[in-house]
Subunit: 499 residues, 2 copies
Amino acid sequence: MRESAETRETPANSHHAIWSVSAEHVPAERSQAAIEAARGLLRERLTTNVTLREQHGHGEGPVRAHAPDAVAFVTSVDEISEMLRLCHREGVPVVPFGAGSSLEGQVNAVCGGISLDLSRMNAIIEVNQEDMDCLVEPGVTREQLNAFVRDRGLFFPVDPGAACTIGGMCATRASGTNAVRYGTIRENVLGLEVVLADGRVISTGGRVRKAANGYDLTHLFIGSEGTLGVISKIRLRLQGIPEATSAAVAQFPTLSAAVEAVFATMQLGIPVARVELLDDVQMAASIAYSRLNEFEPLPTLFFEFNGSASSVKEQAELVEATAGEAGCIRFSWASETEARSRLWAARHRAYPAAVALRPGARGIATDVCVPISRLAEAVLGAKEDIAASGLIAPIAGHVGDGNFHCCILVDPDDPSELERALALDHSIVARGLALGGTCSGEHGIGLGKRAFLQREHGDDALDVMKSIKFALDPKGILNPGKVFLDTSLPNRGSGRVES
Amino acid sequence: MRESAETRETPANSHHAIWSVSAEHVPAERSQAAIEAARGLLRERLTTNVTLREQHGHGEGPVRAHAPDAVAFVTSVDEISEMLRLCHREGVPVVPFGAGSSLEGQVNAVCGGISLDLSRMNAIIEVNQEDMDCLVEPGVTREQLNAFVRDRGLFFPVDPGAACTIGGMCATRASGTNAVRYGTIRENVLGLEVVLADGRVISTGGRVRKAANGYDLTHLFIGSEGTLGVISKIRLRLQGIPEATSAAVAQFPTLSAAVEAVFATMQLGIPVARVELLDDVQMAASIAYSRLNEFEPLPTLFFEFNGSASSVKEQAELVEATAGEAGCIRFSWASETEARSRLWAARHRAYPAAVALRPGARGIATDVCVPISRLAEAVLGAKEDIAASGLIAPIAGHVGDGNFHCCILVDPDDPSELERALALDHSIVARGLALGGTCSGEHGIGLGKRAFLQREHGDDALDVMKSIKFALDPKGILNPGKVFLDTSLPNRGSGRVES
């Protein structure tokens, strides 16, 4: 309900923060002390190898790398706990790392310290078929989990596309193409095991579908981006594999006709499993990159339908009729598994396809999400802004949720172009907020969206978040520099790493 | 994931806390100062009338009343803010009050102070048909909201039965009969406006269906039972009224057959809108109380089906077959609105029907929720414990979620019977926890379940909750004495009301 929140104008240059993070590096002697102690614990799994440090200093987004002082490959909750205990003692930053696929600089070690690599904690501990849930370690990837549970007739529905880890998905509150039907990671986590800043281990939530048992810590840690604790186990809901699945592609002469078809589909309450928009520029990029030569470079919707054979057929016919009314000029089916896989692979490769439009460029991805009734205004407005900017920025989005991404392609070494790109980013987000939306539907805040977060929530709500941060991590060792532009609180000290 | 949490044995007598709350009353002179200041603000809407104070001192549960020093009928967020500002200044407790229908002593003013009555803030501020959401004040009741949105083809699906307010439902994380299909209040709130302990007003969440925009404050306040802030506005999701609805009643020779039918229904993934269990004792009570003379006093399931006409028919046929296989001896339909209403009214009156079995007794309602695969063990074990106790305790439950209530009827003035009742309560909850369940599926913690909460989460998770409480309400003025047996934190002071 941020429409009634008091908002503060952020400093004009604060959205430049993604390019120039100025944070104090932890003193070398403290970092060294933590590294020595960690080496005693992890042996060769604690490394200061330059290549590994560099690789752990960035995700997949546009933010430049900040390498940690060391990388710790932990293999158990006890090791996470010990690592946090010793880093807490030394006041050294800890940055949790999964697959490194986040887009907003979430894994960058802006203050140095230790990157805690959880990718080797990739055990699927149990799968409970009767209750359709499972317990996994944070380094399990969604593909790994799906391959494992498929034979049991189950699947894990949250699909951000990337080869991300479940722990990382929880930390950033990820979602993706299936959220319109199955919800985001938030709706699919039943409980967590979390290691606190000082090394204590707690459990939140549980195996039950509902509970009124004290503060909802599960949802507090989901989306906290490693700033409140390190997630060491996750209890997930699973879904039964639907009896039937089919896909369809609808192409439109205009972007506004495509968005109108989405809105009509959602208004009719058709329970589509996915509905994805690619604008003409993105479609041209994807046709070239993924060899989708059977399609035209026009605004396009990708649909998926799940259910019983009759329900899937009914849904698809309804959607075809609805799209037709909105002006669809080409509707095609893909009910064979192979054809569907090829379509969705192309959709998942939208980002590299976009970047391939301009070799050497980096992509700044906006992540605005608005109420579905305002989607047309948001998307068409963004398209106009892009045209006015003179930049290339393909649009792709999970439009059933009101979420879309403009991938602004920019040469980061050209200051004036960068200036235009950031101004474009700013105007797209500002319109999203004005339409009752959020600056981030699914990528999170990290470094890149901190100024927008402040603008979206207002100072008092940010202060509540910071109070919680301070209460759980008084020394500020957990992923410092992320989410908040600064963590200072009136009368509470800075909340920064200090001894 | 509390199965791996370290749990601490709670003091043997701590579950007696529901009957003997020993909390320090706020000093009379401070309370008086706050009352005088509040009278200046609210005039005749600030009352110290004994009847009104007594009425605001308790909910509907077994906990004895604790009257506040005054009752404040506020009518706007500004008044809530002013009230909190002045109570914060004076260090005087504030206890939010909606309909007074909570069951665990949530509204009892155990430390005195001011009961903040929100029932006059009952405006439905806006209904947005396109996005199927609405914005309401906390005193709006669910019946009021449903009557208002019905003509628009919409309904609000969370139905705890009681004439509760939306604000109260958010505060206790309520659910009820429809949660198996539509989720609890947690899944149906998009955003909140909350007044903080010091009177500042924040907004959380928004109008979008998903967001990765900082800490999830919405879900933190939902279920915090008035201890972290006062909810002053709620943005709710609404649902489209289904094309068709029907109901059915299935009677079984044994409790185990009835539970087996529930499990099989859920395993088949039949999307029932409601599935409610009443055991033989509860059914006898309900037949007598609600004149359901067409039924036998046998273990019984009440079903409701929502969907298209064909889907409702298909669901009901599937359930009839499934119940038949489990041993159902009588399956009857209620597709007429009137017959359905009569059935659900009887279900909603289960609690008074139970209490009417033993005039003068009070009911201690257990609220265990377990994974559906463990439901049979939990319910049949409870039934055995009840038999062994020699007490009367009808069972009714939202069994599709694994949630059920034993209403233990007890004469509170008979110490030895009370002892037996509390031991029974304890054993039912202990089994629920051992089966991976929770002590509270939907009633919340309040005063009555504080010892269980400690046992369920363990000390470290409780400390995290208390740290958050302390961060948001350092003076401890918000609903003191609730949720936690004590709010002391190592090195942080007591968090109690003090100047």
